[in-house]
Each structure stands twice: as structure tokens, then as C-alpha cells.
Amino acid sequence: MVNPVLLIAVPLGLAFALPLFGLISKRIVKYIPVVAFIFNFALALRLIPDVLKQAIVVEIGGFPPPFGINLVAGPVGVLFSALIALAGLLVAVYALAYITEGPKEKYHMLYLLLLAGATGVVLTGDIFNLFVFFEILCISSYALVAYIGDRAGIESAIKYLIQGAVGSSFLLIGIGLLYGLFGTLNMADLAQQIESASSISVFVPMVLIITGLGVEAAIFPLNAWLPDAHSSAPSSISAILSGIAIEVGLYAVVRVLFTIFGATNMFMFFAFLGVLTLLIGEMCAFAQNNIKRMLAYSSIGQMGLIVFAMAIATSYALTGGLFQLVSHTLGKGLLFLTAGYMIYRSGSMEISAFEGMGKRMPLTSLAFTIGAFSLVGLPPFVGFPSKFLIVRAALAKEEILFTVLIGLVLLGTVIEGAYFFRVVQVLYFKKANGNSERKDAPVAGLIPMVVFVAFILVMGIYPQLVIEVLNSAASELLHRMEYIRSVLG
């Protein structure tokens, strides 16, 4: 059997080795992330049948938990690893042609490390180890946001750095308090002992940890950094930040709430917070004229929707929430990649500059339209089954409150539809003034777009392909006793 630790060790090792490859030839450097994520994606797919039967617990160094560090490759971990590897692979292919300036070697190293950190966060079963990988993820994002090196990039990276660092400190203090209470850092061991402590001494670390992780997960009101950071990063990095980084942050919040604290009494609060995040995100997105800022605010809205789905905390709702997460990664990844070349061609991030793009870059525009329709939730794209599951789960609760909240969510979707259709209208139904030469994105840019579109269509038409994995991932999150048993035996 293959060992899930390779999902972390191989990208890390390749990132360390990248300067050595660079000494041999400057040209092969950019292919290394592609190779790493082909390997990771294949490995994650190979692991899925095994983990559906039983979660794989990997003891690092051969010490049994809670004495050593362990990885838990359950359905959730492997689902996320596969998603990270897929998005990582496609965006790495995109970067082959897109990243042409700046310290390219450092870009590829940071890119590999960012995603290795993300994979570590979703696989680890130790809360301090989670913090360490979380730091790898965050610090490489700070640097990549500033990659272009213009004023806006540096300014937003510093904003992101300050808020992220405060968040990380909260997280660390919270972990310290938990360690003081229970004398262990193993997540399963913590989960087992959590009920034995008084409520206030558990509540304070929980608030600190959730606040710290919430900064990266872009939950309102901790998301002030996001629109700037996502819009001034290179588009390939925006795709990863929106498609992977905040999702991983949200994973960490969900894992801590569901598995460690089993905090069922907090879910009502998170349902409200989710809807609030959703409405604020969508309304701000509606007001934007800058395409990347619009997409960034739309990510906040989507995160709100996922938080809401998770907070319903039924098996249906969790499946829907995880599905929405997958569909957001695919949709938003595609949107940022297409927007990258449209901005490159028009030389502006203003939506009005995209007039007539439907003729100038037909394939790219079509891909953008599909991504937009999928995010809004139109059939036959993947956004439809995922949103549908969430709506059904909320109605199945049969509580007035959830019916009202899902009404607000649908209102958010209407706003989302409005601003995405506005862009699509500009693409296709406005005449281009001036240059209307037809020239699409380069092949290395088109391939990932086509693959994203293929995934969006196939999963939209055959949701049953992924539903089994999503179901067992949802049940891993819901049944914390199972998790504890699989780790501690």
C-alpha cells in the first residue's frame, strides 16, 4: 500500500531540490510543479478506494499517537488532497506560459511549498503540526501576493501579512492553552478529553483557534485582507488563493469545530455568520467594476454559503457543503485563469475593457461564461447539484429559521447571478471599440481551462461520480467518535 505521507514529502522534497535543478537548466524549473502534482493527483486517486473502506492512520517515526505525530488520511483528507493536487496541476500548467517575468525560480518554489503546506494541513492529525503547515501555507501566500512587486501588490501583501500574523498568534495561543489543559496535541486525544474540562477553559481556546483560522478562511469580519490580496496577486496565484487557500482555512475551522470541540451549540451562530458573510460578499461583488476584485468578493460570498451549509450539520448539508467547496474550487479557479488572459489582452482590470471579448478571445470567453454559470448554480454545471443539495438540506431541517436563512441565501444567489450576467453581457453583447483582432490565450493557458470546463460539466451531469466520496467525508466529520477510535484504537 502506498503511504499518504508521500503526498506531503514529495512536493516538499522537490521544492528543496528545485534550485539544484535550476543549476542544471533554467528551463526545466517550471515543469517541476507539474510533475509534483501529477504524482500527487495520481496518488490521491489511488488512495480513494482504500480510505472509503477505512481511514489510513500514518504514524510518523513509528511512535504511536498521542506520543508521535500522525496523519489521518480519511475521506476528508484524501478528498482535499486530490482537489489541491488537481487545482495545483492545472494552475502549474497555466503558469508555464503565464509567468514570464520576475524571479521565476522563487515563484515555482513558493508555489510548491504553498500547496505542500495546504496538503499537510488537511492530512495531519496533530494540532500543532496543523499550525506548522498552516504557517507554510500562509507565509508563501504573503510572498506570492507581492510577486509582481508593484505598489498595490506590496501594500496588500503587508496588509495580508499583518492580519495573517495576528490570526496565527491567536491560533498559537489557543493551541498553547489546550496543551496546558490536556497535556497533548493529538487531535483525537484532545477530542476524547475535551468534555472532561470546565466549559470556560475550553471555550476561550476554541474562540482563539477559530478566530485565528477564520482569518485565512475569510469568514466575516476577519476578511478585510482578501479583496486586495486576491486582486493584486498574479492571476494564477489568485486562482490558488481563492480556490485552495481559503478552502483549506475553512477545512481547518470545520475540523476543529466538529472533531476536536464537537461544538454543536455553536452551529446556530455559524449559520448566521455564514449568511451574513454571503450577503456582504455578494453585495460588495455587485458593486465592483474591477474584475478581480469582483471575483475576490464573490469568493467571500461562496465561503459564507459553505459555512452556512456546514452549520446545518446534517449529513445532507455537509455533503452539500463539501460539494459546494469542490465546485467553488473548479469554478473560481477557471474564472481567475480566464480573467488572467483577458486582463493581459485588454491591459485593464476594468470590466468595461472586456467589451467584445467574445469575438476577440472566443474560447477564453466561453470558459469564463461556463465558470460564471457554474458558480451561480445553473444546470448542467457542477454548481447546480451542489447548491441544490444545500437548499434541500436546509428545507429538510423543517425549521422556520433555516427556511428564512435559505431564502436569504437564494437572494445572495440572485445578486451573484446579476453581476456575473453583467460581465457575460459585456463579453458578448457589447461591440469592441478599436482593436478587435482575434487571438486566444496560448495553448498552455487553454489546456487547464478546457480541463476545468470538462470537470465542471462531467461532475454537473454525473454528480454520482463524486457523491460517494463526499458522503463518507461528511460522515467522517459528523462522527467524531469514529475518528477518535480510528486514531487511538
Binding site: N3, V5, A9, L12, G13, A15, F16, A17, P19, L20, L23, V58, I60, G61, G62, F63, P66, F67, I69, G102, P103, K106, Y107, M109, L110, L113, G117, G120, D126, F128, N129, V132, F133, E135, I136, I139, S140, A143, A146, Y147, I148, G149, I154, A157, I173, L177, G180, L181, F182, G183, T184, L185, A197, S198, I200, S201, V204, P205, V207, L208
Partner: protein, 228 residues
């Protein structure tokens, strides 16, 4: 108004942490995990320095992560500064004779001391990170005293990469021969308290020492370049 809100938030935070701390028995009794390390650390890892056995062996995966965090920070700094070079050179005033001679005298001694700290990480207090920081301090001295001298960027990058690779490869070999565990201590443990003991621990600490030393020296190099 902003000040009042901030003050309010900070006092809520302080109150929360204080209440929690009040109930948490920090330092009271040794924890289950701590007791296990103290009781069985020497026998299981072969390192007479228990802190090292925890850092490199029991929680070696964290250390791999921490090495990576430093690595990310160093490259990130390099990437950010690389985009804003191209400044005109300012004339640098040479250091005085006393400083110059002192640096040349101390440089090898500091390197030796740093190497001593990371090679003896499994026996005495200190280890790869500390030794690496001492090594890097020798380079700070060179930049202060022998202005105009530079470390070779290729050399520091190569050492950095090799250090990281050794860590990963030692870990991966464990998958093949160490009972299938990443980072398991599969080498002979040797005699307690001797230099050649504790299996993979000294190898990893030496790799970390080189890596941290070259990394921090690289950071200093970037910053010196920026300030000129």
C-alpha cells in the same frame, strides 16, 4: 472612537485569556506525553538530550515543517526584494583596521563554535537551529568588518537545498527500511552519550545546521544588498 473599540477588544481578549489561564494547571504535574518522553526517550531514540529526542525524533515532522517555514520566509524575502533591485551603488566606507582584523580572527572560531553546537545537538543543549544561527552570525560579522565581501549566492542556495533534501531523503529511507515509517530512527543507536549515537538524529541536525546557517546568511545578504 477607534481607540475605544480597540481598547475594549483588547480587554475582552485579556480577560478571556486570564480566566482560562486561571483554570489551566500550567507546570503543575507532568503530562502523560511528557512523562513518556522522559521515561523512554533515551532508550527509544538513543539521544541523551531529551529536548532533541522530542524535537528531531518524536516530533520530527514538526521540525521538518519548521525548517520549511524558515525556508519559505527566506525565499519569500528574496522574491520580494528581487523585484525592487536596480539602485545605484553608494560608496561604502571601509571598516577600521581593528574591526577588520578582529573579524578575520573571529570568523573561523565562530564557524567552529556553530558547528560544535549542531554536531553535538543530541548530547548537549542546542542543535541545528541554534548552531545554524551562530554560523550565520559569523557572516554578519564579515558583512560588518570586511565590507564588499559577499557570500556566493549559488553556494548558499546549493547548501540550503542539500540540507533540506538530506532531511527528506533520510525520512523517506525510513519508509523503505525503518518498518515503513517516515522519519523512523532506523540507524544503530550506539552508546548513550557518545558522539556516534542516536541514529538519524545527528545526521538530521547537521543537515539543519547547514541549512539554517546558509539560509540566514542568505537573508542577511539580501538585506545588505537592499540597504546599499
Amino acid at each position: 472612537m477607534r481607540a475605544i473599540i480597540s481598547l475594549f477588544l483588547i480587554s475582552v481578549l485579556a480577560w478571556g485569556i486570564a480566566t482560562a489561564l486561571n483554570e489551566i494547571p500550567f507546570g503543575a504535574a507532568k503530562t502523560k506525553v511528557g512523562e513518556y518522553y522522559i521515561g523512554r526517550g533515551k532508550e527509544q531514540t538513543g539521544a541523551s538530550n531529551i529536548v532533541t529526542s522530542v524535537v528531531v525524533n518524536y516530533r520530527g515532522f514538526d521540525t521538518l515543517g519548521e525548517v520549511t517555514v524558515l525556508f519559505v520566509a527566506a525565499i519569500g524575502l528574496g522574491a520580494v526584494l528581487a523585484t525592487r533591485r536596480k539602485k545605484e551603488k553608494r560608496d561604502v566606507e571601509p571598516a577600521s583596521l581593528v574591526l577588520y582584523t578582529g573579524c578575520r580572527l573571529l570568523f573561523p572560531l565562530i564557524l567552529l563554535f556553530g558547528a560544535y553546537i549542531f554536531i553535538h545537538g543530541h548530547l548537549t543543549p542546542g542543535g541545528g537551529f541554534q548552531g545554524g544561527a551562530v554560523v550565520a552570525s559569523a557572516f554578519v560579522l564579515v558583512y560588518l568588518g570586511c565590507r564588499g565581501r559577499r557570500i556566493s549566492e549559488t553556494a548558499s542556495k546549493t547548501v540550503e537545498s542539500l540540507g533540506g533534501l538530506v532531511f527528506i531523503v533520510v525520512g523517506l529511507v525510513g519508509l523503505a527500511v525503518g518498518g515503513g515509517y517516515f522519519l523512523s530512527n532506523y540507524l544503530p543507536k550506539g552508546e548513550l552519550n557518545s558522539l556516534f549515537s542516536a541514529g538519524i538524529i545527528p545526521i538530521i541536525y547537521i543537515a539543519i545546521g547547514f541549512k539554517v546557517g546558509s539560509e540566514l546568511a542568505g537573508v542577511i545578504d539580501h538585506l545588505v544588498e537592499e540597504s546599499e
